[in-house]
């Protein structure tokens, strides 16, 4: 078990390093003159050259990367070139907003999708039709378009929710709930039916297995077959679906945050990439990839707990 976790963590770190190198190299070859961007058009060429030397932009790629990586492994991701805010600080104030949004939404999606998917598989009828039609509609409407519609109708026209987030450092729980409700609804609507559809397929797939018939022949009740056997065997597939959705949402949330004016990672990433603020961009990439690695590790561990075959190998 420990060996398994260590192995997966090792693979995760390799992935993290590979992506860090790749991103850093990409940004190195970016054409923008960052020092000029920072100082503005009025600065003289000497001032620009001085700034470049100060930021180390005149150094070759390897010197710069290892300088950055050397501090990064000690937990120092540098400071923003534009706002002089420490990158760790910038991430620490914004990450809770993004993670709250993503985790609350995905938890709701997982619970609702599991219930809907199970009901659709077992009962059929109208629940099944709702899931089927909903999955097609959910696929067909881009998530951010749905979010724009929601914000236009409920925040701007009806004024039920604030159109601009009231989350700030030290804001109370009420501000969080008011600001998060509409984005969470937008995400849940967008993701829930397609997840439910896939969980439905996973449940049906298990019901078709021979062992279910044998369990019935042994006098085990339908309820026990569903909750103890079918659901358990279908859950690895369900977990994989939810984790893929989670990774997708980690990117998609950037747009959602912009629409609902939430002070999460999204606006930070957008500004930093537009300006060429490399320390911030690297910080955002590291954080998101780390979250992805943690999620994948948790899913692997859960699958191991659910499936004895995985546990042994």
């Amino acid at each position: 078990m420990v060996a398994f976790i260590l192995k997966r963590l090792g693979a995760g770190i390799v992935l993290l390093v590979a992506i860090a190198v790749l991103t850093y190299a990409l940004l190195f070859f970016s054409g923008t003159n960052i020092a000029r961007n920072i100082l503005g058009d009025m600065a003289t060429d000497e001032q620009v050259a001085l700034k470049q030397a100060e930021l180390g932009l005149d150094q070759p790629l390897f010197t710069r990367f290892f300088g950055w990586a050397g501090s990064a492994v000690q937990g120092d991701l540098g400071t923003s070139w534009f706002s002089s805010e420490a990158v760790v600080q910038a991430l620490a104030t914004r990450l809770p907003v993004t993670l709250t949004l993503v985790i609350v939404s995905m938890t709701l999606v997982a619970v609702i999708a599991t219930l809907l998917g199970m009901a659709a598989a077992v009962k059929g009828g109208w629940v099944d039709r709702v899931v089927q039609v909903g999955a097609v509609i959910g696929d067909a409407i881009p998530g951010f378009v749905l979010a724009i519609i929601l914000v236009t109708v409920f925040a701007i026209q009806l004024g039920v929710f604030p159109a601009v987030s009231t989350i700030s450092p030290g804001a109370g729980a009420a501000a969080w709930v008011a600001s998060m409700t509409l984005p969470v609804i937008a995400i849940v609507i967008n993701y829930v039916t397609s997840s439910a559809q896939q969980i439905r397929s996973a449940v049906i797939d298990q019901y078709r297995r021979d062992y279910v018939r044998t369990l019935r022949s042994r006098g085990i009740s339908e309820r026990e077959i569903l909750f103890r056997h079918v659901l358990r065997s279908a859950s690895p597939a369900g977990l994989t679906i939810i984790s893929l959705q989670f990774i997708g949402l980690l990117g998609g949330v950037v747009i959602i945050e912009q629409i609902f004016a939430l002070p999460g990672i999204g606006p930070l990433a957008i500004n930093a990439t537009a300006l060429g603020d490399i320390p911030i961009v690297m910080g955002v990439v590291l954080v998101t990839v780390t979250v992805v690695i943690i999620v994948n590790l948790l899913v692997d561990l859960a699958n191991g707990a659910l499936n004895p075959k995985v546990r042994v190998s």
């Binding site: 397929s201 049906i204 078709r208 747009i255």
Partner: protein, 626 residues
């Protein structure tokens, strides 16, 4: 719509590909609507710049945020530019860049998938590693970083997104190729001297072509959504009109002129929706050949990726393969009240099957009958063999007695009575879930054919043996545990305690079958139905399991129905035999009479096919059966 959905979206049966596609597609109203919308978008994209009344950036500064109507069909934006013209220009750039994205994804995913699927090996392993790397990247963050490098270029971001989404084509191709690589016609092509390149070109491309088109439609939809999303964030090129740039412009003026949002939202929503619906319609059309029931069923088969039902049992009608699964709502038999409206059944025999007929509904509403007018009886302690080839209806009859027919099966006539209770009363069209629920597991039990697939892989053998005893007999868990150990010892397992702790994948097939026999015996039933109990086992193990069955039967004096295609097994175990062919009873009687003196041509053929090239059964003719 997100990247992950596109990555998990398509799974198409390779064998369903060679079907006249377009004719099926235009029969689907949603598919037609999607095609019409996409045709209009394509026309707009091709001729847009020619028919647009204004240039995309021509601004009338005195006429900003004009309402629709008059000179400006859809009004003007905050810079006084004509919305309709910009929408037309936008159609071109938006669709072209989406096509670029799909093309890049196919250009990477298809060859990589072909090579990985056809040759496997090191390339397959490394391609899979890259695939999982790409799939664990949060797409938008990567695209934002790319934008920092390349500036606001639609083309670059779509090329990169094409790379990011190429795993969806890679996986699709790889799976499809792997499934046909082992097919006989591919082997035949190889033997006849065709080069690998020609085999891939001729036989394999044709299999993946249709699924690729479906996936391309879906990916193009995702690409438009992602690209508009980026531009909506203000990362697009402001000098070029695209739908995403217009969305951004509209969102910034949401308080002043919310209608500016409407047009790009409509354009994006309709186009992306049509692409997804077209993909779905294509997929449905592809599966049309296999369709027997409604749309829901087809989707179940696609997304589940497998449609295996009752593996190994004969005569599973095609209907059951695609039908939506539905568990009967009266699923809690032991709590349900006793059904008093059903008359008491005759109790002359332990089990009496009278004129039983079973059918499955066809798509057109008629019935496909698989069992016709089958009658037989089983007495206490008696072993009845039901013999027939695949498709003879013998397994259907057995499952009807157990009440384990697929949910769409219908009893078309006759009755089944067990010890004075009708499980199928005359006139009923299904096995009563209440009445069979009181018997199943307790008095009637079942030994399946394929031992491994009939144990739940997630539970230990001990848990699977003790749980039915606790549930059915109501004994404490500790007592059930002791009884399970005892049973395992009786079925000849050397180290019962260790086997109890093992998971099904940790034991051999023969051992798993012993466990299943122990499970069937565990609640001391009056009747055991064994469906080809030795067919899936090695020959040496077969003999051992047959010996075990005989010993257990004589020990417990339990009645057994032995369903098999093998007269040897019947001769070994059965007292009486029923021979079935194409759903009908051909002949029945004591086993020695039938073996010695078969009356019917079919029985003679069946016996003959078994006896060809073998020693005559002298033991039987001398009456020396033990």
């Amino acid at each position: 719509m997100s990247e992950s959905e596109a990555l998990t979206a398509t799974a198409v049966h390779p064998e369903a590909v060679r079907v006249p596609l377009w004719r099926r597609l235009v029969r689907n109203p949603l598919g037609v609507v999607a095609l019409v919308i996409l045709a209009l978008v394509a026309l707009g994209a091709i001729f847009g710049p020619l028919i647009a009344p204004f240039d995309q950036n021509f601004a009338t500064i005195t006429d900003t945020l004009a309402p629709p109507g008059g000179e400006h069909l859809l009004g003007t934006d905050s810079a006084g530019r004509d919305v309709w013209s910009r929408l037309l220009y936008g159609a071109q750039l938006t669709t072209l860049s989406a096509l670029l994205c799909a093309a890049v994804a196919i250009a990477i995913g298809l060859p990589a998938g072909l090579i990985a699927g056809y040759y496997g090996g090191a390339f397959d392993a490394s391609a899979n590693w890259v695939t999982s790397l790409l799939m664990s990247l949060p797409g938008i963050i990567v695209l934002l970083s790319v934008r920092a490098v390349t500036g606001p270029s639609v083309w670059w971001s779509m090329v990169v997104f094409g790379i990011l989404i190429s795993p969806s084509f890679f996986r699709l191709t790889r799976t499809a190729v792997q499934s046909v690589r082992g097919e006989l016609y591919v082997d035949a092509a190889r033997v006849s001297g065709l080069s690998d390149a020609r085999i891939i070109g001729r036989h394999i491309i044709s299999v993946v072509r249709a699924p690729l088109i479906i996936q391309a439609a879906i990916v193009a939809g995702v690409a438009i959504a992602v690209q508009s999303g980026l531009e909506f964030l203000g990362l697009g090129d402001p000098a070029k009109a695209t739908w995403g740039v217009m969305l951004n412009e509209g969102f910034r003026n949401i308080y002043l002129a919310p209608q500016l949002l409407l047009w790009p939202v409509l354009a994006i929503g309709l186009t992306v929706g049509s692409l997804v619906l077209l993909g779905n319609a294509l997929r449905d059309a592809l599966e049309g050949g296999q369709r027997t029931q409604g749309r829901r069923a087809r989707r179940a088969v696609t997304s589940g990726g497998r449609a295996v039902m009752a593996a190994g049992s004969d005569a599973v009608p095609s209907a059951s393969v695609t039908t939506n699964l539905r568990v009967p709502r009266t699923g809690m038999p032991r709590r349900a009240p006793r059904d008093l409206s059903v008359p008491a059944a005759p109790a002359d025999h332990l089990l009496e099957v009278s004129s039983l007929a079973i059918g499955y509904p066809r798509q057109d509403g008629s019935m496909r009958q698989v069992v016709h007018d089958v009658s037989f009886a089983v007495d206490r302690g008696e072993v009845l063999g039901i013999v027939g080839e695949s498709g003879s209806g013998k397994s259907q009859t057995a499952f009807a007695i157990l009440g384990l027919l697929p949910p769409e099966a219908r009893i078309l006539g006759g009755s089944v009575a067990f010890d004075g209770t009708f499980t199928v009363a005359p006139g009923e069209d299904r096995v009563s879930p209440v009445r069979i629920g009181e018997l199943r597991g307790k008095r009637i039990s079942y030994i399946p054919q394929e031992p491994m697939s009939n144990l739940d892989p997630a539970f230990t053998i001990g848990a699977q043996l003790t749980r039915p005893m606790v549930a059915v007999l109501g004994i404490p868990k500790a007592e059930a545990h002791e009884r399970a150990l005892d049973l395992l010892r009786k079925v000849g397992i050397v180290d019962p305690a260790r086997t109890m702790r093992a998971y099904p994948h940790e034991v051999s097939g023969g051992m798993a079958q012993r466990v299943l026999i122990a499970g069937a015996m565990s609640c001391e039933p009056d009747l055991i139905i064994a469906d080809e109990p030795t067919t899936a086992l090695d020959v040496t193990v077969q003999a051992e399991v047959l010996d075990l069955l005989r010993a257990m039967q004589q020990d417990l004096q339990v009645a057994v129905i032995l369903v098999t295609h093998n007269f040897g097994v019947v001769a070994d175990l059965a007292d009486r035999v029923v021979v079935m062919n194409t759903g009908r009873v051909v002949e029945s009687g004591p086993v020695r009479d039938i073996l010695r003196n078969p009356q019917e041509q079919y029985t003679q053929t069946l016996l003959g096919s078994m006896l060809v090239g073998k020693e005559p059964m002298t033991m039987l003719t001398k009456g020396g059966r033990s």
